[in-house]
Every structure is written in structure tokens, then in C-alpha cells.
Symmetry: C2
DNA sequence: CTGAAAGCGCTTACAG
DNA sequence: CTGAAAGCGCTTACAG
């Protein structure tokens, strides 16, 4: 394998010093325009690429961001919540637009991720993605701050959780759902989704939903983690109960709603004729279910951009603050309100 | 921000030389076990991490793999074929298991990706993922080989395409579908999916399907690229035609089948009672459609492992060869054959 | 088993 | 505008 060309090789060919080559390739205005062009041409001919390791070592930054995905530990090994995959896509694009590379890693909460990337100078900052119990890693977040690591977290801003976060306005999303269903005459509701402290996103959605209900409306709440199976099980409990079915079932996540729809379908219960169903997230599948799922969209494109943008601010020691992104109701067939 | 500890800092604290620190941290047997322990303890206390840039520069390898995702240029900006996202997950895990980091990038076919990663020493090798016209980048692949870049490609092995590839046994997958449907009495088929040279995967699936058909069976073929819309359009053409509907519709990809199902549903045509539908890929959605979709599974976990494993072999200058991974029929409701 | 020294390929003050 | 020199933080022959 032929020796890869270095800046010194180019210097020889161009008849200038190695420092001038470096300057020319970095488009420094200090270098005479003709020299610059010449050097750049030779570099192009040789397929020369700056050695990032050397460059990063010298510059003390990597132009790389590390994305840590926390998988829901309950999910099947081969599956990742489609919502996070959509986020991954948008983060990748946002990084590319800013000239940053993206290192991706799946992490479990136990491992030593706080050190692995930024401390080793492989990345200038971290993005944390994944729902779940932020308390489990609150300690690590605190430690990260102390080490002045640059971190941006996706999720609900939580008072006790240190660090900046970017998240969706879950409360207003929940409100939109309530308002929409009420205006179409629904009064008896079931909300499916955990609302314990481990699920701050679901808490927000529930809170928004409940506070927006009118006095004459009633509701019950059933626990379910963010999986199809949990949704199916909750729907089953609903059907087994003594009480008649509610008018509308509001699910804290689309993936739960998918399980609910499947269970209702099996039982021969028509959606939306006999009961309306609404989800949250607007994952790709939501448009494809039968009936298609009314849900709340989180703008993943904007989310990825905001995360990257704020992380870069932090890296450059600029002030940043929490952001809430708007949540938009997407009306489809499953709520029976489509024109 | 406090200066990050270096090996020299540890050397001072441990009272040994910097070279010994380096050796100890790399668990070299050359270092006295007591010294090794001591150094490692001090390093742990300081949260010391080896500077990857320096280490990589010196070692001339990065322990990093770059994954280049070629998006289907026809797909919506925010969507990525769920199949590739599943692959991403499995590749990520496989890399982690081997102690490699993964750099992810979305590339369009025009850009200068062949140089960006390995030439700049950011990655030791590349994985190419994405269907589409391999001819469009065959030239680049050739160039990569000449530069001795280490590349592994996901997709059908193609005679004219240089370089090693790992792919699914599309032909045998197509055969399984034909065999299954025939044995359940279906005789009149439609195959939906492009079979031009731009879609070698689809070609393989079609080829397997057709060659396995019995003499009394008939079939037509309709073009469709790998999107839901294209599937919907093809189904519409089928229904608009003068001929009666076939017994069974075989789709070259699940995402096409999802579009077909939606269109049939809208037209009031019952699946599988009036027509059977089969897909290919076993994306997550396939289990969730109504009716659930019979399809062929590509083992993404194994695929990711094989890709990474072979790439590492190539990086270490070991011989590698093309691999075909088995394709497994998954029988669900949409073919009407479920027990 | 350990240390002093070289060198990976850059970037960037410093001097001219 | 250009060059000679230092140095980023490691790893690894080399010498002992």
C-alpha cells in the first residue's frame, strides 16, 4: 500500500514550505492567492486529505459530536423506538450541515459513557437521546457538568435534572388532544400510559390532557410502558372491565396506540365508530395503520437542528437555554373527526 | 476549565516515566504488575482517558468505522427506509462488540465520500448501505479499491460491481414465496416492483419467484420503486385494468406492500379473502398492518455482524469473500395461509 | 522491567 | 507573504 501523501509531500511538489501548505489548505488569507491555488491543485491531484488525528491533536478539537442512544431496556434487542430513529436522521443531517461528524453509540445506563467520548477527545460534545428514568443518570449528568463536558439532552426539562435539555411541548400536545376530542362531542375518556416519575414525557402529556378537560368530561388512566404489547394489554383490561368502553382512548405514545388498535380490531370493535383512538409522536407507522392514527407530531427535524445548534453553542462557551418545541395535532381517521 | 490530565501528569504522581504509564495503561506485560496496578489506579482516580487523537496519530489507525447511508433520493427528506435503520442498529451493536466506534453519515452519490473518512484517518474502513443504482458509483468503488480503502457493501453481489458485498439471498427468498403460495392453491400472480438494472435486489427476488412458479401458474409484473406511494399506484393500476384481480400480489418490498394494502382497503377489497398480499424485508411495520403482512425476513442482526466482521478482516489484510445471508419466510395473515 | 528519545502529521506563534 | 521551529499527547523501538 502506497504511502499516503502528507503535507510535506505537497510542499516538495509545490516548492514551498510545509507551513505554507497547511495555510493554503486552510484557505488562509495570509497566503498569496497564486500559491494557494497551486497548492490546492496539487493536493487535489494527489487525493490528499488532511490527517484528522494530527489536525485534531494540534487544534484540540475534533469537529465531531457523539450521539448516545439509551435504548428502552424493555424493548426487543433488535428494535429501536422508531421515533428515536427519526431523531437520529435529523441529527445526522444537522451535524452534516454544520460540518461536524457524528459518532453513534448505544449505551446502557451503567456504562462509562461520560468519559469515553469527550474526555478522550473523540468528540467535542454529547447528545443524549432516549426516554426513561432520568433520575438513574442524574448523578452522571451532574458529574458531566463538573467536568465541563458539553451535553445536550432530549426530553422534558425536569427541575431536578441538571443540564440543558431540548424537548417537545408535551403539555400543550396533551391539551390539543383534549380540545379536539371535546369539540367533537367526546366526553368519556381513557388515558393509556405510565404517569409515574420515571416517565416525565408521559406525565406532561397526561397533565396537558387532563387540565384541558371540561367539567362534564370524565376519564380514567391505565398504566402502560412504551411498547405495543403494553398497549394491547391495557386495551384488554379496558374491555374486560365492568364499565362500558369510553368514547375515546388517548395513548401516551403511538406505539401504545398501535397495540390498542390491534386489540380492538381483534375484538371486533370498530375504530372510530365505537371508540376513538389517539396517539402521540407521529411515527411513520401512524399514517399506515387501519384506521390511520390521529396523533401529535413532534417536529424531529427541528429537534435535531436545535440539539446540534445548542450543543455547538455550548462547545463554543456561549450561553444556552432549555427549549420547548411545538407539538402539532395531526388529525387522521382514528378519531372520527376527519372532514 | 481545568487542564485535562495527560499521561505525563500520571507519571509524576506515580513516580514513573511517561512511557511506563503508557505501557501500564495498555496492560503491557512488560510492566511490573504492582506498577501497573498503581498507575491504573491513579488514572482511574483522575478520570484519565487516553487522548484518541494522539494515540491514533501514533498508531496510524482509528478503531473507527464509517457507515455511509445512501438515501433513496426519491424518499421524503425526513424518512429513511426502516430497513436501513434496523441495519444501522445492528451495525452499531456489532461495532461496539468489537471495540470499534461508528461514524454515521448520509451521503448523496455525488459527494466526495470516498476520500473523507479513510483518507483522513478518521476511519479504518467504510460500510456502504443503501439500495439503488450501484452502477452510479461503480467507478468510485473501483477507485476505492485502487487506493486500498477497506470497504464492505450491503447488497446483491453484482458481477460488474467491484468489491466485496454482503447481501440477502433474494433469489431463495423469492422462491420461498412462490413455493408457499403455490402450495396453498394460488395460481394467478402479480409481482409489484422494478426489475430493471437499477434494482438488483428486486431483480433477485423476482427471479427467484418466477423460476419457482409451476407451469400452470401465470403472472404479470408491475413496476414500482421502493415507496408506499409507488405501491399504492401499482395497486390502482391493477384494479383499473380490464383483467380480474390476481389471486395473490407479491411485492418486492414491505413498504410497497403497505401501499398496496392501503389502496385495496380503500377500494373495499378484502385481504386475504379476495386477494393475498406478500411483502419482503420484514420491517417492523409488517407485523402491525391490518391484516398483518406475510413477508420474507432478512436477518439484520446477522447482516450487521457479517458486515463488521468482514470489514475488520479486510482492515487486517485478511481475505474476505461475498456472503449471502438466508432469507426466511414469515407467514402472517395477509396470505390467508395461517393456521 | 524501566527510561530517554524519536516521531506520528499537523497548526500556529514567532521572526523576518 | 513565507519559513523554521515548537509542540499537541501519545506509542514504541532502542538501550540499559
Amino acid at each position: 500500500m502506497k504511502h499516503k501523501p502528507t503535507s510535506l509531500d505537497i510542499a516538495h511538489l509545490a516548492g514551498v514550505s510545509q507551513s505554507t501548505v497547511s495555510r493554503a489548505l486552510n484557505d488562509s488569507p495570509l497566503v498569496n492567492i497564486a500559491t494557494r491555488k497551486k497548492v490546492q491543485e496539487i493536493a487535489a491531484q494527489l487525493n490528499y486529505q488532511v490527517d484528522k488525528n494530527a489536525s485534531n491533536l494540534r487544534r484540540q478539537r475534533s469537529n465531531t459530536i457523539a450521539l448516545l442512544l439509551f435504548e428502552d431496556p424493555t424493548s426487543d434487542d433488535s428494535l429501536v423506538n422508531p421515533f428515536f430513529l427519526a431523531m437520529l436522521g435529523s441529527i445526522t443531517r444537522a451535524c452534516a450541515a454544520k460540518g461536524y461528524d457524528l459518532l453513534v453509540s448505544f449505551q446502557d445506563l451503567d456504562s462509562n459513557w461520560q468519559a469515553q467520548y469527550e474526555d478522550s477527545h473523540k468528540a467535542d460534545g454529547l447528545i443524549l437521546l432516549g426516554y426513561g428514568d432520568y433520575r438513574a443518570y442524574a448523578g452522571k449528568l451532574t458529574q458531566l457538568r463538573q467536568q465541563h463536558t458539553h451535553v445536550m439532552r432530549w426530553g422534558a426539562p425536569v427541575a431536578e435534572s441538571p443540564g440543558i435539555s431540548i424537548g417537545c411541548d408535551n403539555v400543550s400536545g396533551g391539551q390539543s388532544i383534549a380540545a379536539h376530542l371535546l369539540s367533537h362531542g367526546y366526553r368519556r375518556f381513557a388515558f393509556i400510559g405510565d404517569i409515574g416519575d420515571k416517565a416525565p414525557e408521559f406525565q406532561g402529556r397526561y397533565e396537558g390532557f387532563v387540565t384541558r378537560l371540561s367539567p362534564e368530561a370524565t376519564h380514567i388512566q391505565l398504566d402502560a410502558i412504551s411498547t405495543q404489547d403494553a398497549g394491547a394489554a391495557a386495551a384488554q383490561r379496558l374491555m374486560n372491565g365492568a364499565a362500558p368502553l369510553p368514547d375515546a382512548i388517548v395513548c401516551a405514545a403511538d406505539i401504545i396506540a398501535v397495540g390498542v388498535l390491534a386489540t380492538l380490531h381483534k375484538a371486533g370493535i370498530k375504530v372510530p365508530d365505537q371508540v376513538a383512538v389517539v396517539g402521540f409522536d407521529n411515527i411513520q407507522v401512524a399514517a399506515l395503520t387501519t384506521p390511520s392514527l390521529t396523533t401529535v407530531q413532534q417536529n424531529t427535524n427541528q429537534a435535531g437542528e436545535k440539539l446540534v445548534e445548542n450543543l455547538l453553542l455550548a462547545i463554543n462557551e456561549q450561553p444556552t437555554k432549555d427549549h420547548l418545541l411545538p407539538a402539532t395535532l395531526i388529525v387522521r381517521q382514528s378519531c372520527g373527526c376527519q372532514v
